[in-house]
Subunit: 187 residues, 2 copies
DNA sequence: CCCTTTTGGTTAATGGCGTTAGCCAAAAGC
DNA sequence: GCTTTTGGCTAACGCCATTAACCAAAAGGG
């Protein structure tokens, strides 16, 4: 029996890719084992179990999402930065629905949890975007939550086919960015 | 063996209640059977299976949600109507997380699907709320999607403990309503 | 370079879940 | 009152996550 040369990072990355393909709910230890070319119990040599796998996928996803938005925002400020961040967020969620789903409902175990680091980087990027609007300090937290709700809500609803009727979805998203921008500029 | 006097509506309603208590993902046929006082296979006399149960819970939830928001909005217009609708939405999602989760990712099978009726009633209520803002017709669809994204995003993030840091969450939601109202009034 | 230890794979088994089949008594209808 | 439908039951199957026990391959130290 030749070894498969597997390691934790490979297992997690393959799990993330598979979750994107078939949906997080359908990511099974059996299908993941088959994908990496190994029998199911072997996965437990690299990962604690399904829960642990989920947390690691979430950590990976948050890091990638923070990277993607951070990169997208570079060189922009104000409305352009807001638009770049929002578009990058939606693109990530639509291209990686399984990864993104893994980040929901998972709480960091402590302040040293690498997942918390990803969350913080993501938050910092959005905070930087808001800096261009020179908001009152008392508004910043609320504005952050508003942006997060808008982006999360729009992207997950679109991913769940929650927008049934006619109008063009991309157009709606651009409209929504403009709406948020106008509101933030007139605070 | 005395009969349990069960019927479909009872099974679905109990399933919805149980989903709210333990989370939709933890709603198991076994636990539901126990709750209604019957062995697991007996449930299949009233419901097609887990998928069918989920659809029926979703249908119930959409109907209840449409009722709740419709009632909350009565007698109000403009900003007051918007606030009432948004608060009713969030309250419903927080009080009935399992029911609401059941509505996501379930597509109506056809135009006669009773679930589609609930969706439409919900949509109509929000459309009525927007009427108070006298929007340009070309803006209505986008504004509806914006409101839906905001309410859905905020409520589900709060439900998933997605808001970790300090500021008061109720205050953020009121801020968000005010933000949306201001934006809609200045279109 | 062999001998030992760690590592990463295996098969077998357990227990929980959804679901189906087949049975049988209670209710409903003629 | 007899027949049919209905709503419960037990038994069984297959899938899934997980654990235990085992064993070969790599790694590493004399």
């Amino acid at each position: 029996m030749p070894r498969a040369g597997l390691d934790r990072a490979t297992v997690v990355a393959t799990g993330a890719a598979l979750a994107d393909e078939v949906g997080l709910a359908n990511l099974t230890m059996g299908s993941l084992a088959e994908r990496v070319g190994v029998r199911t119990p072997s996965l437990y040599k690299h990962v604690g179990g399904q829960d642990d796998l989920n947390r690691r996928i979430a950590t990976l996803a948050l890091s990638e999402l923070a990277d993607a938005i951070g990169t997208a925002v570079q060189g922009y400020a104000g409305r352009d930065a807001l638009a770049a961040a929002a578009r990058a967020f939606r693109t990530f969620v639509l291209e990686h629905p399984g990864r993104y789903a893994a980040t929901l409902g998972v709480e960091p175990s402590g302040p040293n949890d690498p997942m918390a680091l990803g969350s913080r980087r993501l938050l910092d990027t959005f905070t930087a975007v808001l800096r261009g609007y020179h908001l009152d300090v008392s508004d910043v937290d609320h504005a952050l939550r508003m942006l997060r709700s808008l982006c999360h809500g729009f992207a997950t609803l679109q991913g769940a086919n929650g927008f049934q009727w006619s109008a063009d979805i991309d157009e709606s998203f651009e409209w929504l960015i403009a709406f948020a921008d106008r509101g933030l500029r007139t605070l």
